[in-house]
Amino acid sequence: MSDSKINMVAPPEGVVGEGFFATKLNDVVGMARANSLWPLPFATSCCGIEFMATMASHYDLARFGSERVSFSPRQADMLMVMGTISKKMAPILRQVYEQMAEPRWVIAVGACASSGGVFDTYSVLQGIDKVIPVDVYVPGCPPRPEQIVDGVMQLQELVRNESVRRRNSPEYKELLASYNL
């Protein structure tokens, strides 16, 4: 197994001794969360096709801990919105987001989900951040699978450094209240 190129997750900073390892709970929880993000795909158009390639063997998002694509919001950690969200679709997206268990994160993949893209019309939502809070935006029309993987890795960085108390903080509650959630 010496010639294998497996990249293991490095342990967080801490005190190493004979038979013990001491570190901050925050770091351990962050590490565990960041490396087991289960995606909930909300694919409505071409970005969804790129996501299929991202999950498939060549790009293989499973390498980053997203092995299982969850089609129920109850077991998902990151909502990946891929594609044009029309204004009629917005309440459905909101409902799916609201039914996810805390902690939850959102990636807007592609120009349409991020800003409405070229569809600057009466019927299209001008970015999903009008209805739900977004953590990471992936640009592109559609973005290549490498970009989606990069977006997930950016989110992993956010998750790794998130305080375990953030979801109970008044700032977070205020953020959700601003979305009427």
Binding site: S72, P73, R74, P91, I92, L93, R94, Q95, V96, E98, Q99, E102, P103, V164, R167, N168, L176, L181
Partner: protein, 121 residues
């Protein structure tokens, strides 16, 4: 070799530890993890769409009958295959047993046809 009941104590401890860890982590994560509940959160997940009506509605018993009939003949075929493979070794005795088994099933099948369970109109 003298075996003492006390020698099994480590196994008990290990079982306690295993069950305790599983139950403990489930309970602790329930207390420590962030939670947010609302009316919408507690609704059934219907892909984000408002659910219409009740899921528990009466439906035709014919579906159940067809399913049971399928299982019946499915199991029959499962028994037929090993019998067919060992046909020569089982001989006349196996043949008689299989005929009894098949006729029992066929009696049930004729009963269900007489009851008009398979009449769809």
């Amino acid at each position: 070799m003298q075996s003492n009941q006390l020698d099994y104590f480590p196994i008990l401890m290990q079982m306690l530890l295993a069950v305790g860890f599983v139950v403990g982590t489930i309970i602790i994560s329930g207390y420590l993890g962030p939670k947010r509940s609302s009316v919408n959160k507690d609704k059934n997940f219907e892909c984000g769409i408002e659910s219409v009506g009740n899921a528990r509605i009466p439906f035709s018993v014919k579906y159940f009958l067809v399913a049971i009939l399928f299982v019946l003949f499915d199991v029959e075929v499962i028994f037929l295959y090993p019998w067919a493979v060992n046909f020569k070794e089982l001989g006349v005795e196996g043949m008689i047993k299989m005929v009894i088994f098949m006729s029992l099933l066929l009696i049930g099948f004729f009963y269900i046809i007489k009851k008009k369970a398979l009449d769809w109109e």
